[in-house]
Subunit: 118 residues, 2 copies
Amino acid sequence: MNNRSQFNIEGNIRIMKGDELFIGPKQYQLFKQIIKDGSLNAASQNLKISYQHAWNLLNKMNHISPLPLIISYKGGNDGGGCRVTNFGLQVIQLIEEKESQMNKFLNNINQDFNLCSF
Amino acid sequence: MNNRSQFNIEGNIRIMKGDELFIGPKQYQLFKQIIKDGSLNAASQNLKISYQHAWNLLNKMNHISPLPLIISYKGGNDGGGCRVTNFGLQVIQLIEEKESQMNKFLNNINQDFNLCSF
């Protein structure tokens, strides 16, 4: 058993469509990596996930989305290319706003959180 | 691609000790089930996880905790028994308070959340 030391509350948010996950931390991370790398192949390599897994995540996001988020095409030397849509960029911005609100909330609830005060 | 329908933000919190997970949704669920069932064996069966996995989760929680949460013993016909400590009950209560604050926060951020307003 450890003695007193720093405990704190972390958290994350995810966007659902009904019971179905639309964008959670994993999808968000992939999205950002695609924006950075410009290709699904490079993004999957940098995230150390398989191309197929990244493709499936992306495909599912696009399917659930009311408008396409990222337009991708298979083939070519780099294994495919990607273009993020304006709607995709707006969704990312919205998520980051909500994340920022979440972080403020977490800071607040951590202020009076002390596991060792009992 | 689906047409407009209900999107909403969900979230969860977890208590960390530094970089180490202390209690997240899975641990919380096990904890509650143990309180309900009074034994780790029954709890693991009801959660459809292996006894060994439940034992490992519990053991790790107790190890990270500044005081024991659940005192368990192996053996006996039912595969072992459990006693939740007062500290364990207080931790659960604290988590539920924070969860309740989290739910209020999520309600607030969902008020002005509309993915289809772009």
